[in-house]
Symmetry: C2
Subunit: 476 residues, 2 copies
């Protein structure tokens, strides 16, 4: 018994110490390791495979919206940041700077990109000449660097991987509607691929991206009740287009300034998956992005024909495009069950001599822990169906968990009590920075996102007329 539980015991209790549980899970399932430089991470194959699956799903969606992938340089002249006043203020304090290269001190120091609006704006200014060149939509998958004091694998690291999409349009309406279209693309992706429900909407002025007219965000609730900003879509108006001279000759012969946007998600999403679905047994990965969707564990593997039948089944499932592992190691079935459960593989198939004789396989779901017997005939089809069901049920379970923890408050005490018991708290807000700051000071919660379409009469802090409803939460 001790042996069978050895993995479970290695992970801290999720209910007793959530941060320790998180660290245990990411390290012990080999998603990630600490890099030698403080605040850096090594993404190990099991973690990187999730990222590759995210990339594939996202690329397919980008393509449908006419976005093309490209690659822009890592190093950006420091002077570029200064061209947009808010932008430099927001990013200058956390850039890493190259001052020496090829044995010589550089005339101008170069920043490692914390984000690429400035360099992409510079290139767009060259590429955009006529209205025919617009809209222009590019995306890059790359590493970025933001020097952070407190770091945690996937959630906040000095270097991380992300995609950053950048687009330029002829007019404000199209740019704004595309900003929202990208937010919706992200929302659909979160739900369909990661089984994570998100609240979407606009950020407050305080929380928006440095240089944006408006930032739209998607916020996901982690199992400890904290919010994880999971992706953002920014509308820049003409801020960057003016700073970087993105001008075009319109069909009326006039020279006009473009409107730009950008949008991004990062390896943070892997953190979101872990903290949305994980449990006391470890990881639980949504089938769409799980590196291994299904593991076959032989029962009484030494009995004639078992290994062969498992391999046959594996080949059959693989042929149907299912990502399968066959665990034919010497460990006991119980040990294997625990290991693959910890690794979050959504479906386990147990196959022993009696199953084979009966033409059945025993399927154990990682999400509900339910077991069901399925026929070995048309195995690929039924496994695919089951994976779809798991994906759908995981989203639904996460939604129910989250919805039960969104509450309303009318005053500071209510916000504090709500946040302390791990809720998202919706409260009226007058719109002023002082009240927003005060909530953070008293409760540790920040304004995550505007609850669009909701209204309250008064601000929970000052009692003045409310300008809208805000979702407050502690956040990663």
């Amino acid at each position: 018994m001790a042996k069978e539980n050895q993995f479970v015991e290695q992970i801290a209790d999720i209910n007793a110490d959530f941060p320790k549980w998180y660290t245990d899970v990411v390290l012990k399932t080999k998603l990630v390791d600490y890099g030698p430089v403080k605040g850096t991470m090594v993404i190990r194959p099991y973690g990187y495979a999730i990222w590759e699956n995210i990339q594939n799903e996202m690329n397919a969606r980008f393509k449908q919206r006419g976005v093309e992938n490209a690659y822009f340089p890592l190093l950006i002249p420091m002077s570029y940041f200064a061209k947009e006043a808010e932008h430099v203020e927001g990013f200058a304090p956390e850039v890493a700077v190259v001052t020496v290269a090829g044995g010589e001190t550089l005339a101008e120091p170069l920043a490692i990109r914390p984000t690429s609006e400035t360099i992409i704006g510079t290139m767009m200014s060259k590429w955009v000449q006529s209205y025919r060149d617009l809209p222009l939509k590019v995306n890059q998958w790359c590493n970025v660097m933001r020097w952070e004091k407190t770091t945690r694998p996937f959630l906040r690291t000095s270097e991380f991987l992300w995609q950053e999409g950048h687009a330029a349009y002829t007019n404000a309406e199209e740019a704004e509607s595309e900003t929202l279209a990208m937010l919706n693309l992200y929302k659909d992706f979160m739900e369909d691929c990661l089984a994570i429900p998100v609240l979407t909407g606009r950020k407050t002025e305080k929380e928006k991206f440095a240089g944006a007219v408006a930032t739209y965000t998607m916020e996901a609730m982690m199992k400890d009740g904290k919010s994880l900003q999971s992706g953002t879509s920014h509308y820049f108006g003409q801020n960057f287009a003016k700073a970087f001279d993105i001008q075009y000759l319109d069909n009326d012969g006039a020279l006009k300034t473009a409107y730009t946007t950008s949008w991004g998600v990062s390896t943070r999403l892997i953190g979101a998956i872990i903290m949305t679905h994980g449990d006391e047994r470890g990881l639980l990965l949504p089938p769409v992005v799980a590196p291994v969707q299904c593991v076959i564990v032989p029962i009484a593997a030494r009995k004639g024909g078992v290994v062969e039948r498992c391999e046959e089944l594996k080949a059959e499932l693989e042929k149907a495009g299912i990502r399968v592992a066959f665990d034919n190691t010497d460990n006991s079935p119980g040990w294997k069950f625990n290991e693959w459960e910890m690794k979050g593989v959504p479906l386990r198939i147990e196959l022993g001599p009696r199953d084979i004789e009966a033409g059945k396989m025993l399927c154990a779901r990682r999400d509900t822990l339910e077991k069901q017997e399925l026929s070995l005939e048309n195995a690929a089809e039924s496994v695919q169906e089951l994976l779809k069901t798991i994906q759908k049920d995981m989203l639904e379970a996460a939604r129910v968990r989250r919805d039960g923890r969104i509450i309303y408050a009318d005053d500071m005490d209510g916000i504090l009590a709500g946040v302390e018991s791990g809720n998202f708290v919706k409260a009226g807000w007058c719109g002023c920075r002082e009240c927003e700051d005060k909530i953070k000071e008293v409760t540790g919660a920040t304004a995550r996102v505007r609850a669009e379409g909701e209204s309250k009469e008064t601000c929970a802090v000052c009692g003045k007329e409310a300008d809208g409803v805000i979702v407050f939460a502690r956040a990663y």
Copy 2:
């Protein structure tokens, strides 16, 4: 006529000014643009799509050899380089160094990776404990930085994209044979995917990777007769394993040191494609990696049913997995022909009212410029066949061109004459550095690769007994 040739005229004459032709082609086909920092490039969507196709093909091959993708940090402490003496000597002069981050001067300067043996060695030392952990094979797709004085898009830029595979083994035999297996994987990839024949073999001591016991290379002949080192596979013996403490407990209970290897190819491959296949009309892309494999150009597009039939054909080809463009712009067919020829699309299909009536399509090959009528029935199948033929014929044509320009020489005059007329020159070599240096000094050619299995009696320089035959060439 002038209009129809406008693209052709924009490109320098390949025979008169090869370097200018190269620059014209990469810029005008929008593969790449210059970045704002000297020596950097922006890889534009048309160029990046080639890189993505290369990645997909390569990943499939890596997977078959048990290599898993991962991601390691960009920044490496400078002290790491010093752990392997030859390595630091080779790379220190060209690193870019971060000295300031988060507003503070760093206690230890950090190098932007020029290659990742040191940081991956550090992680392997942690991950490898037992013989059961070996072999360990990881690969990363990432950006690297080497501060170069003279740069050219794809061929030599301060930042470039590449893959670097790293592996550790229990014994020298396996490590050496895997080093060669990777070289062969690369060779097959070059031939099957890029239609580029390569000479493979070992580098001289002078030309090997800093820190390697042996470097194996593949060398491709560009149309100007120069050689392009297109990929390398290194055997490190225990050099890095000792420097980074990669030790394991063997099954005999003894603590032993591992043997390591690394191998890599980069965005240079795009330069190799351009200079192997391009011609006076511009690019010529091998079908396997071409972003657009086939373009449909409507003839008399205003005639009823033409556009519809083209779109139908496009859908049919796409369904079969062919990457198709349908050029339904207002430009004349002649203008379109030139544009798509310049962009190197391997196959053009012309479809007009008469073709449709006859149930035919006119297929024009970019490589041979031959046209042939094919039935519209089973179009996808015959287009796929034709693309395969083009791929095969491109390799064969490149091989014939190259083989006709590999000659032998017995003395310095012969090497000089051979190199000056754009050949690879095979000559006997005694094995000493002085003779190798002298050849470079007199002819500008370097020792590209050992011609394995060939022998000569004497060294072409000093006349002493030859240690083997070397392929000398000027190189990128």
